[in-house]
């Protein structure tokens, strides 16, 4: 059963890629991609209860289905589904019908690599999956082929490739450390590494951990390795930005979570977690600086991603059942709310023909329906109740206060307030600020065809679960997080 579901999850996007490449008809490829996204989402939903009963291995142990991976798949597949719906409306409005099949082939391919990442059991193959996500998404970032988007794609690829090569070095170090114990040739799976970790030389173990942290941290967008993120996230088409932010970053984040587990098993002392917590707090700091002074609308969302990845790193860094539960809840809630925000940004850019915050005024009058949803999303993403990010941030804070890094919890609290004020101040200006009549008159002259239901529906689909998650923390989730936390906390002695 698990195997069948796994096959659907990996083969449906693959089929969509092939279908798009074979048949170029624009209306057909939209539906094909949407069907694949729907199939993946349903399969992941059915996979979740199965995954709870332990890690399953497939394909000679190269694929693993464990609760942590399945949880990431849930957030990835949700974003894939939402973004696929939104993409239909958004890409039609760009008038790129000729090249649309390429977009959807890349889009489904990107989803495939992102879905494959959390399923990889061999660490080397996991690294390759993450690298492949970069290669595919680069061409989605520069799909519009403007000067800025090509620049963003270039920076994205160079910085992330260079950063992730550090992770490869770290993996080689891990393999080397293990080979001094296990002999020359063995399979470097997550569980093998965890079991051998206590016997790896601590100097090698520490060095390897720091290298993989920086390497995958680059991909996650943790400061100070985040510099590619605002460019790539702001220059791609809106559905791509949502996928990058809501899906891709998570797949790299669980790599870090799993390596934290390895360094716990290796008994390296408090340093590894202290580094993770410091980087997380620093990401929040950098995000707070750039959010308050931001002028571009999608860059604002991108820096908010840096913020939320920092919060997740804090959650995993604080650790314990509470920290891990908070981080995982945050992952899902962030995926939903960031999709909502990028969709809203896409709609606003469509309505105002600008990506500058200063050009967007009286947003509610120009886009009444999606404007309201976007405003609700802005409140959600700053972590205000009654939305899903509020309980998760609160849980992470609680985990932090109880642990040895309570200073980081304090820093997080202060920076969250700064970001709340800074972020919503931009929205105040866009919704209720005084309108500069000159620019508005100029944009008024442009006739805008309103975006249809395709661009509105996914916003509702993101907002409603977000609200539910904020009002009610499901028991089933708690059970799930307990299992994951127990697996992440298990040391080398138990399998």
């Amino acid at each position: 059963m698990v195997g069948d579901l796994l096959a659907v999850i990996l083969l449906a996007p693959l089929a969509a890629v092939l279908g798009c490449l074979l048949l170029h008809r624009p209306r057909f490829v939209e539906w094909l991609n949407l069907a694949a996204a729907l199939a993946v989402f349903v399969a992941v939903l059915r996979l979740l209860p199965w995954a709870l009963s332990g890690p399953y291995l497939f394909w000679h142990g190269y694929l693993i289905v464990d609760p942590l991976g399945a949880w990431v798949l849930l957030s990835v597949s949700s974003v894939y589904l939402l973004a696929s719906i939104y993409a239909i409306g958004y890409m039609r409005s760009t008038g790129e019908d000729q090249r649309l099949y390429r977009f959807y082939a890349l889009f489904a391919g990107f989803a495939l690599t992102t879905l494959a990442g959390p399923l990889m059991n061999n660490i080397g193959v996991y690294w390759i999956a993450i690298e492949l996500t970069t290669l595919v998404s680069t061409f989605l970032v520069c799909f519009e082929l403007g000067r800025e988007s090509v620049e963003a794609a270039w920076k994205y690829m160079v910085i992330v490739s260079a950063g992730i090569s550090l992770a490869l070095l770290g993996i080689v170090f891990y393999y080397w450390g293990g080979s001094l114990v296990l002999g020359d040739t063995y399979d470097l799976t997550w569980s093998a590494l965890r079991q051998v970790a206590p016997r790896i030389n601590p100097t090698i173990g520490l060095m390897a951990f720091l290298l993989v942290l920086i390497g995958f941290g680059t991909k996650v967008g943790l400061a100070p390795m985040h510099t590619w993120l605002p460019d790539a996230h702001s220059e791609g088409p809106a559905p791509v930005s949502a996928m990058l932010s809501g899906a891709l970053l998570n797949t790299a984040m669980i790599g870090i979570a799993r390596f934290i587990q390895v360094s716990d098993a290796a008994h390296l002392g408090s340093l590894p977690r202290a580094v993770v917590v410091t980087i997380g707090a620093f990401s929040l700091f950098v995000a707070a600086l750039f959010i308050t002074r931001q002028t571009g609308i999608k860059r604002l969302m991108a820096y908010s991603s840096v913020e939320h990845m920092g919060i997740m790193a804090l959650g995993f860094g604080f650790g314990g059942p509470l920290g891990i539960a908070g981080a995982l809840y945050h992952m899902l809630a962030h995926s939903l709310s960031k999709s909502l925000m990028f969709f809203g940004a896409g709609n606003a850019m469509h309505a105002f023909h600008s990506k500058h915050i200063s050009d967007i005024r009286n947003a509610l009058s120009r886009m009444p329906k999606s404007g309201l949803l976007w405003l609700a999303g802005a409140i959600a993403i700053t972590g205000a109740p009654p939305f899903g990010l509020f309980p998760s941030e609160l849980t992470i804070l609680r985990a932090g206060v109880m642990g040895p890094h309570s200073w980081a919890a304090l820093v997080m609290l202060i920076l969250l307030i700064v970001i709340f004020v800074g972020f919503l101040n931009h929205f105040r200006a866009m919704y209720f600020g005084p309108s500069e009549s000159v620019t508005l008159a100029a944009t008024d002259a442009l006739t805008t065809k309103p975006l249809g239901l395709w661009c509105l529906l996914p916003m509702w689909m993101a907002l409603v679960p977000l609200l539910l998650l904020g009002l009610w923390w499901p028991q089933a989730f708690s059970r799930y997080f307990t299992v994951i936390a127990a697996q992440l906390a298990s040391t080398g002695t138990s399998p």
């Binding site: 680069t138 920076k155 090569s165 490869l168 080689v172 100097t203 460019d231």
Partner: protein, 226 residues
């Protein structure tokens, strides 16, 4: 651990090839012509291929012969060929915007090697490997890593950046041949293939850069800030 139990001949052969690869990284640092970079990279790849074969011979890892062959084919011929095509397509054949002169780069590179030496000496000491090829391999691996990053920082021509990335990868590959010769074949094959895809993607991206941003230098890519 293979590196600790080598005969003197094998050990000096490995050292020679590792050091020669490091010197080639300095050739790249010291030049400003793109074709020089390319030739240095190709020769470096061939050296690494020879190293793989030598490790396979002395350590009795028959699968390394395959790796050596593929390294020579992919890294030594196919990648340089692809990059040469890119060079031919653009009209820039040298580094135009120098942030640091080649000689200054060499000095910094030497300091980086010193740093790598200290780090790997420390690592080797904690493992009781002082004086073996393992320490040298670590030094070369970390040095090439740092030199690759240095190239990424100070060179702005798109092609130099790709070659900087390839030097990073070559460093890891070289080190892993000596340190972990038993690494599963599949992983090495996939990484080789991955590299090919990376270069192909970069090739397409450079074409986009030339067509839509009208530049092949990262020096001119400064629209996105803040």
């Amino acid at each position: 651990m293979l590196a600790a139990q080598l005969g003197p001949l094998a050990a000096s052969l490995f050292s020679l090839m590792a050091i020669a690869s490091l010197l080639l990284a300095f050739v790249m640092l010291g030049s400003r012509w793109l074709t020089d970079y390319l030739i240095a990279f190709a020769v470096q790849s061939w050296l690494i291929a020879c190293l793989s074969a030598a490790v396979g011979y002395y350590g009795h890892y028959p699968e390394l012969y395959l790796i050596a062959l593929l390294t020579a084919l992919f890294r030594g011929m196919l990648l340089p060929y692809l990059i040469l095509n890119i060079i031919k397509r653009q009209d820039v054949d040298r580094e135009v915007h120098e942030r640091l002169s080649p000689s200054a780069c060499m000095v910094i590179g030497a300091l980086l090697v010193l740093f790598a030496f200290v780090v790997s000496g420390h690592l080797g000491q904690s493992l009781g490997l002082t004086g073996t090829v393992a320490v040298l391999a670590l030094t070369v691996m970390l040095s090439m890593k740092l030199i690759g990053f240095l190239m990424l920082v100070v060179r702005s021509e798109a092609l130099s950046q790709i070659l900087g990335l390839l030097v990073l990868e070559n460093g890891i590959f070289l080190g892993s041949q000596i340190l972990v010769p038993g690494m599963p074949l599949l992983i090495e094959l996939v990484i080789l293939f991955d590299l090919l895809v990376v270069v192909a993607c970069f090739g397409v991206l450079i074409r986009y850069l030339l067509a839509h941003a009208r530049t092949s230098s990262a020096h001119d890519l400064r629209r996105l800030v803040g």
